[in-house]
């Protein structure tokens, strides 16, 4: 401790390092950001570049070995009818799931944002959080149980003497199948179930930002509740819906487990990626397939950004 006003003899190692950091704020930021930036840059961005790189390579048909030369041949393979089907199929499923999720989530989100108070607020919050964070696989699995031929859903239809309805539905082309668990309806239901929390939360967040007085003001100016809903609430909730749709769309585009467990044998993008990188060893094609969701999401995100959806995230 010095007598002077300025303490010149605190000189421990840590103190000296602290002095240097204080004198150089840029150095401090650099030191803070370097480890995570390096990790993310090398591990993650590096991998993404590796993916991109791989998609420009091709596989030799005879030897099965990867040829490390730039070519667009692999990308062109995406446009064969079989492969293109896969892409279209996945895109359609993602769209259907997104729209359905928006419709089903809205009442829940609206109620939770506007009317839930006190303990109900906590119940709704946990009620959405727990499924969100609980095991993805368990959720998928539970639906396999539900949709199984001998499972609860069939049992329900039988007890209510509505089996004929189910059979009629299953005989419909495309969305029907041998049983619910091998039909696209089944796949659709599971996707919907698993991604629902991802849609509820952003909508709720967006709705919570609408001051209640706005709806009252609308009523005050002569609008019916329906009109207030359509012209005031819905537009304000839209960024939340878009934010949620980013999740549901993106997650559906890339998923390979759900279609595998509950679905027909016709593949989705995720399964194609998984299959090609596995025993087939055709990593370039797998990579090319994987780039498709990235591109689709990139375009989607760009559109969403222009609509201001990122505030609701």
């Amino acid at each position: 401790m010095s007598d002077g006003v300025l303490d010149t003899d605190r000189n421990g190692v840590l103190t000296r390092i602290s002095d240097t950091l204080w004198r150089n704020p840029r150095l401090t930021i650099l030191l803070l950001i370097a480890p995570p930036a390096l990790w993310l840059g090398v591990v993650y961005l590096g991998s993404l570049f590796a993916l991109l790189a791989q998609s420009f390579f091709s596989i030799d048909e005879f030897s099965g070995l990867i040829i490390y030369e730039f070519t667009l041949k692999t990308y062109s393979e995406l446009f064969t009818p079989a492969n293109f089907d896969i892409i279209v199929r996945t895109f359609l499923m993602a769209s259907a799931v997104t729209i359905a999720a928006a419709i089903v989530s809205f009442p829940i989100a609206y109620y939770a944002a506007r009317y839930a108070r006190g303990k109900w607020k906590a119940i709704f919050y946990l009620g959405v959080m727990l499924p969100l964070w609980s095991s993805y696989l368990v959720k998928v699995y539970s639906w396999k149980l539900i949709l199984a031929k001998e499972g609860i859903l069939n049992w329900l239809f039988e007890t209510l003497h509505l089996s004929w309805l189910l059979e009629a539905y299953l005989s419909l082309p495309i969305i029907g199948g041998n049983s619910l668990s091998v039909s696209w309806t089944g796949t659709f239901l599971v996707f919907l179930y698993v991604w629902l929390p991802f849609m509820i939360l952003p909508i709720q967040a967006a709705l919570e930002r609408v001051p209640p007085s706005m709806m009252e003001a609308s009523g005050d100016l002569g609008a019916t509740p329906g009109q207030s809903f359509r012209h005031v609430l819905l537009p304000l909730a839209l960024p939340g819906v878009i934010a949620g749709s980013i999740f549901t769309f993106s997650l559906t585009l890339g998923d390979y487990i759900i279609p595998q467990i509950v679905g027909s044998s016709r593949r989705f993008i995720g399964q194609a990626v998984y299959a090609y990188q596995g025993t087939a060893g055709n990593i370039p094609l797998a990579a090319a397939f994987a780039v498709v969701p990235i591109v689709i999401m990139g375009i989607y995100l760009w559109i969403a950004k222009r609509k201001g959806a990122f505030d609701a995230l």
Partner: protein
Amino acid sequence: MHSDRASTGLKIAAGLGLAFMHLPILLIFVYAFTTEDKSYQWPPPGLTLKWFGVTWNRPDVWEALALSAKVASISTVIALILGTLCAAAVSRTRFFGREAISLLVILPIALPGIVTGISLRSAFNLADIPFSFWTIVLGHATFCIVVVYNNAVARFRRTSGSLVEASMDLGATSFQTFRHVILPNISTALLAGGMLAFALSFDEVIVTTFTAGQQQTLPIWMLEELVRPRQRPVTNVVAMVVVIVTFLPILGAYYLTRGTDTVAGQGK
């Protein structure tokens, strides 16, 4: 339109929706007790506790569980360090590349798991890295960073900047300030972030499939069982245990950050 009570229709719709989200999981709990082990028959012909014993004695379940726990623990520690460093830098000052870093942190979770998975696989392939415990951890830590980051950033933003100045004014160096002022104020946020990261890692299956090679974490074990079932009720028991085990950290994280403006978990 002055009423602050929701219409009955809305209440029913909301309630049904909420129930819809939980019932399937509860169903599994029931199936864990069924006596029927060859199919998913409903209603269960009988109830028994024997499957718990059977599961306890399955070595592959324990191995998978141990691996999952180890991976989750180490990934969480890495994510805590990197996520906090990143949050500290981003919330304090503007610097060149700040927006880019914010985006970069979110990317692993924003892009579909399959993209992350195949990217890592491509990278391992190109760099000739064999699969191992560390390849799994590499993937897990990367997407766990954002979970910690979100919680830490929210808390940093709420902490007044003058606290750090006050501490230094009173004689504390940067390190002393970190220890006595910053850390106590962000500890619960870090704990919450860590718990969520653990739960996320414990449950992850998509990226893990691409980075694990021959090893089995618990979700991979479960996936195997789903595709090629050995003893169905055992899978149900394991599923039930997993739900309960992940339930606890979520609840914990919620209570730790309740009452703040950003409650943990919203940034998934």
